[in-house]
Symmetry: C3
Subunit: 465 residues, 3 copies
């Protein structure tokens, strides 16, 4: 989806928080409070690849260019596609595998093969792999709702770089077919070049000067009319014929879309729901070693502290507001350099102190949870998150609080005694205080009378961001 267009700031959702910051407890660190939180990618970190009146495509900054800590994400890119009702994104293929997840709206995705084609009706939560090199087109089949699709791209040629090959040529961009010479095209289609040009390519030569000027102006403004175009109700109807929907029964078919919400959530209570499809459960995700999940956290609730044993999760805040806290080490992104120096200067201090990375979340924000790093997410309004997990096979989510699946409660009693300042009995009593699992109220429930005061306190900290 690399289309010629000027790069401009993405102002996706009105005012965005330009100054993402880290909240650091003063005792723990003397670091500058204004330094960047490397785990957070505010929506202004995305480049506009394409935009016209019918929709746009945004490409997030390369993870590994943001910080060295994301070296293992160098071959993953995140894209967001957004289109108006009754439009279509015209046929093209890419040199990257894509995992598509529909965030909102109703789509028809058509995937071409040499001998047939398949169309799929997609809606929120539907996910499908589009293998590298597949020619596809995507229509917004809804009358009123915008279509929003999140794509994880895994390039096959150059690490972290996606090239698009557009089949349709028009005024201000070229079909890749026009890259072949007149001789090759004439022999290939067994026809005169004039006919080929008239039927498949655009007749640029005949174009009057004032149209060319207009085209150049629009191109400079990133407004190109022809990649996402209007489509009539009748045309949508024709695309819908034989279109399949995501299987309601199973998420295991090889080529069809699966819906994140069709399976029972892996964690669920009145505070939230956690849906996840792992490579073990779906063959489409197996060779890419990717998991996809969707998390709903209700207003005033908390996804309890936990970490992923081996997967790194790229999470997009789709709807709602909230906050995440991630526990890492101090100067995590300077560690590589440190280690290099250590090898030269022996006896230097190795700084690996615990550090909190914290940020507010608004729709369009992205955050990355590296493997092993503890994280918790709270919702100030109903929060809907969609995540892609890298290195997903055999990943295990270890919770650090809550009644079920709480790894801390498995520690031998004498080791609890040695590891914690309290007695084993005190530790066990404390661990049993939380009756909820996975999701809980973001306010401690035993002291409800205090909750109003606390809530005010949280707000005041958040306001400082």
């Amino acid at each position: 989806m690399a289309i010629k267009t000027p790069f401009q700031l993405l102002m996706l959702l009105g005012v965005v928080f330009l100054a993402s910051s880290v909240s650091v407890s003063s005792r723990r660190s003397d670091q500058d409070q204004h330094q960047e939180n490397p785990f957070l990618f505010k929506s202004n970190r995305a480049h506009k690849l394409f935009e016209n009146e019918n929709g746009h495509i945004h490409l997030l900054q390369r993870f590994d260019k943001r910080s060295k800590i994301f070296e293992n994400l160098q071959n993953y890119r995140l894209l967001e596609y957004n289109s108006k009702p009754h439009t279509i994104f015209l046929p093209q293929h890419n040199d990257a595998d894509f995992i598509l997840a529909v965030l909102s709206g109703k789509a028809i995705l058509t995937v071409l093969n040499p001998n047939d084609r398949n169309s799929f009706n997609l809606e929120r939560g539907d996910t499908i792999k589009l293998p590298a090199g597949t020619i596809a087109y995507l229509a917004n089949r809804h009358d009123k709702e915008d279509l929003r699709v999140l794509d994880l791209a895994i390039p096959v040629n150059r690490p972290g770089q996606v090239q698009s090959f557009l089949l349709s040529g028009s005024e201000n961009q070229e079909s890749f077919l026009s890259g072949f010479s007149k001789n090759i095209l004439e022999a290939s289609f067994n026809a005169d070049y004039e006919e080929i040009e008239r039927v498949l390519l655009e007749e640029h030569q005949k174009e009057p000067q004032h149209r060319r000027d207009l085209r150049d102006r629009r191109r400079q403004q990133g407004q190109e009319a022809n990649l996402i175009v209007k489509v009539s109700r009748d045309q949508i109807q024709e695309l819908s014929k034989n279109a399949k929907s995501s299987s309601k029964k199973s998420a295991s078919s090889e080529y069809e879309p699966f819906n994140l919400g069709n399976r029972d959530p892996i964690y669920s209570n009145k505070f939230g729901n956690f849906f996840e499809i792992t490579p073990e459960k779906n063959p489409q995700l197996q060779d890419l070693d990717i998991l996809v999940n969707a998390v709903e956290i209700k207003e005033g609730s908390l996804l309890l502290p936990h970490y992923n044993s081996r997967a790194t999760i790229i999470v997009t805040a789709v709807e709602g507001k909230g906050e995440f806290e991630l526990v890492g080490h101090r100067n995590e992104n300077q560690q590589e350099q440190r280690e290099d120096e250590e090898e030269e200067e022996e006896g230097q201090e190795r700084s690996a102190q615990v550090q909190r990375y914290r940020a507010r979340l608004s729709p369009g924000d992205i955050f990355v949870i590296p493997a092993g790093h503890p994280v918790a997410v709270s919702a100030s309004s109903n929060l809907y998150l969609v995540g892609f997990g890298i290195n997903a096979e055999n990943n295990q989510r270890n919770f650090l609080a809550g009644e079920e699946d709480n790894v801390i409660s498995q520690i031998h009693r004498p080791v609890k005694e040695l590891a914690f300042p309290g007695s084993a009995q005190q530790v066990d009593r404390l661990l049993k205080n939380q009756k909820q699992s996975y999701f809980a109220n973001a306010q401690p429930q035993q002291r409800e009378e205090e909750s109003q005061r606390k809530r005010g306190h949280i707000s005041s900290i958040s306001g400082g961001f």
Copy 2:
């Protein structure tokens, strides 16, 4: 196959075209016509690793050193081996996996294992994997014909670097056995060092000065007598005993050679034949994820425009002459740098215009077709190509013209209407003009009276290269 020898230009096939160039349509690009075509490696891009009167070994330049666009080929090297009748390439092993493909001639390949050995009669089209560390020797068993073998090497130690370990020592090079100390050798062979030296190593100490001078001169000239040596008819006879030929029935045995031509071609008509063995069909190729193919394009014919969905193909022109056209993007090899800059300078123009990369092919030339990039190849004389495909599993070849497997014809009618300037009816009529599939006449057939003029036209463009 890394042997001490000066590096010199390879003048493999008489005069080579030093100035490979790109033909760019003037409307599409203002680029310098004399810039290099990064997808083409003329035969002078190879280094001479070894040469004597009995044969030579050439190693192609590293792909990733040529252009950043070949980052994903950094651990692949291409070698060509050429030897005279009745010669043998003495025993050695390498720290790389090899895929061997016989281009012409008749060979006996012997592969050693700790407890047995296997010999194979090889001929044109025979292909075999030689796993890293395998001690092997290769004889030209023919009375008159040269032996030509193409090797794809995949190093196991350092990316892109192949080390050879020669078992035989002689005047001007050493057996790796001579790397062990006298003490280790005496204990290992339970013998006096003098005997070991006399029987297994070379007696350098006793060598008269004039022979040493001769050796040094020959080494400087890259002429070493002892890596490829003469072998008598009787000795060939003894090597031939129990030698197996490539299986005629199946290409699926794990350790035996398979012939590219033994299976039915995957595409075939009077204009050409396309043979291919994929990892799915052959276990030897599975863990390396490599495909091997051989393409015959008849004089005056065209391999129709197509692209590979995920494989990158390294193609060697073995015999004949022709031309390839590859469609990529403008400044493809500068894209990485561009993207870096974009991240700093927002609003900069992103240049991803379609660009044609075109070159004439002579025997010994190599070209690389990255995944997703459309390509077409025409033959001015019977052209024989051998290709190694990287990232081959689940690769799909999508044709863009021709009757069968034409992915464009699968597009929904209303989308054809939206994507192309012509009406859906016009598009369909144009697509049906070409009755051939995969291969076709390089001249449009409906205007045969014009073909003479056209042919003249092609020649004049090609002559400008």
Copy 3:
């Protein structure tokens, strides 16, 4: 296991040989005798990550930072853990997969899962995979003996970098739990922060100034009291309940430890024993593609010259003394640079002469045997080596001397004639001189009367290191 502590020189085993050197035969090379042997990592190449009166953790220098020839080892790190009797290494998890091998002593390893825990009694030769993100603790259950464990770490986040997350907080370091804010902790544990701090975290605020000063001093000296702590006999008893031992029958269970010595040695005679578990034999090692081996070479014996076809082995000298000889090429670590230059300056000499790399081995020394490189190891006192092999699947060990599995003896007779200076008959006679296989006497046996003189000779060379 990356804990905040100053880096200091490791003086693990008394005086270490700081000057590791290469022995080069004068005819073969004019290289400086004092240059470093890049294949040897003396024990002073390790950094002290942690040390207190109860034990220490050492991390070996990054292989790829030592020399470019170890590029393929960039995501492997070697750690050594050492603890006193009746101590425990408190609960923590890492962002790396670990392969643990017990070198000496008796341990109880406990591995936590969200819903259960498993404890294992480990002893010398026991090996187990600890997947990334697993919370574990390791006790020395012996009354008198130190516990020594060797770890191969394969990071999942950043290549070559291991981060540790400690569950227990104490005076001079923090639990990762303390990285969460007061609000998140209160909601997660449904309790007052004061209680959480008292029971799970350390009460730093209340700490008197003189204790803080003491802590800072100890931290600067790398002496932290709380990562490895004393544990009583009763507590050991409780940890031992339900602890399983490594399976005596099979090495194939998925999650349990296996003992290198439980299976029959793959090579064995009166001079030595070679134990090895390959990925094919053990599912724990399969996805990491690692082999583990243990080699006993008796005093005065020799592991015969051989090479590994595709695995690179990282070998640790655990006990005893000896010497290794490895055959590579001259300027091996400068080869990359050479090749770059070659591409610019054609005709330059390519130096790939055979070179011997030789070094004495003391306990704690590590050496690396790259794939394809011939090696031999002799023991001056009973030598015990433990090795981790990278890229292990389908690895084959080819011996170059000895009666069995001697790959040289498989060469066709006429090729022996062509490859070696001696006649085929002479070669065969020499190869049959050694009646032993795999291991042999380090002195040739046919000349026993000379052995005394020889032994003196070996010593004098070794003394020169």
